[in-house]
């Protein structure tokens, strides 16, 4: 199996509080992978580790066959759950930012996405609603030609229309190119049909891992499984 991400016995603590304990799993290339779990279960930490923004205390991680390093940022896009766009940048300037700093930035695609998301080019970061800001940040990630995309809670607190557009964009992107997508979320409804593979994180460990269609045969919908795991 060609893995996009591998965790070998990864452990992490913050101020003596154990967040992750001896986690080993891998994410095959080309999958839409969901890391599910409740708030504070360590999902975000796992994603940050993949993005080389947080180092494990124990164990090791491989991303696209290499140890995490800045070079990986040429091949991955990471969207933090708390990420905000620069307040003094307009949409137009955000596109310039993309073009200036990401060698794989596809300007024509970005232009299309501005239309798709119905964003006003003169809108400043600080004038944006939460939905508009989410659209812009999604646009910047998806205008890049990356191999791996890491999305941390992309739908939380986002309006319905924006969520639907985001999902449409995700589906189109995985149609168009070979892309591995890792999404952390606690909102199953949005992604029930989208995920190929999932893991459930609970109390520092992965408690269930597998292919979604197989899990459906064994234990029903992801939502039911979620209730079972966290009840």
């Amino acid at each position: 199996m060609d893995a996009a991400i591998r965790f070998h016995g990864v452990g992490k603590s913050f101020k003596k509080k154990r967040v992750l304990d001896n986690i080993s799993f891998s994410i095959p290339k080309g999958e839409v992978y969901g890391i599910l779990g409740e708030n504070g279960a360590g999902k975000s930490t796992m994603l940050k580790m993949m993005a080389n923004l947080c180092l494990p205390d124990q164990g090791g991680i491989e991303v696209l066959g290499q140890k995490p390093s800045w070079e990986l940022y040429q091949k991955i896009a990471y969207l933090s759950d708390r990420a905000k766009w620069y307040s003094d940048y307009t949409v137009e300037e955000a596109l310039q930012y993309g073009k200036n700093f990401y060698p794989d930035f596809q300007m024509d695609r970005a232009e299309e996405l501005v239309e798709f998301f119905k964003l006003d080019r003169r809108l400043l970061g600080k004038e944006m609603s939460k939905g508009q800001e989410a659209r812009l940040q999604f646009l910047l990630c998806f205008s890049r030609d990356v191999e791996l995309m890491l999305l941390d809670e992309p739908f939380s607190g986002i309006d319905l229309i924006t969520r639907e557009k985001m999902i449409e964009l995700i589906i189109e992107s995985i149609m168009e190119r070979k892309l591995t997508l890792v999404i952390t979320t606690h909102e199953i409804d949005e992604v029930e049909g989208l995920l190929n593979r999932v893991s459930f994180v609970k109390d520092t460990k992965i408690v269930v891992e597998g292919e979604v269609e197989e899990l459906r045969l064994k234990s029903g919908s992801l939502k039911e499984l979620y209730r079972e795991v966290y009840a």
Partner: protein, 128 residues
Amino acid sequence: METRVVGSYRFILDFSQPIYEQLVQQFRQMLAKGEIELGSKLPSVRDFAVQMKINPSTVVRAYQELERDGLCEKRRGQGTFITSSADQVAGLRREMAENALESFVEVLKILGVTQEEAQKMIAGVEWK
């Protein structure tokens, strides 16, 4: 259970069952019922996936399954088309009816219902 519409097709998705199987099953039913015109073009994988909000690979898998059963065919560069053979569809209809009948008979047998009783019961059922 959720109803999702793609073009002229309406699907009922139950996320507690494998999705690709449901797609295949519901396509077969629609075909057998004659709800799908012979030789018509199926939605593209992209449109299907976007409108159903499901992973494109699930759609591909369902289309492949239908193709293997000879219920549709892929034409290079044009997309996937429903078979234009009426025989094929008639065969499918017969097969599905036979399968249903078989399990129906199995259940009646377990209950100790005889063939004559069953025939009487069927005759008495309001068919509309």
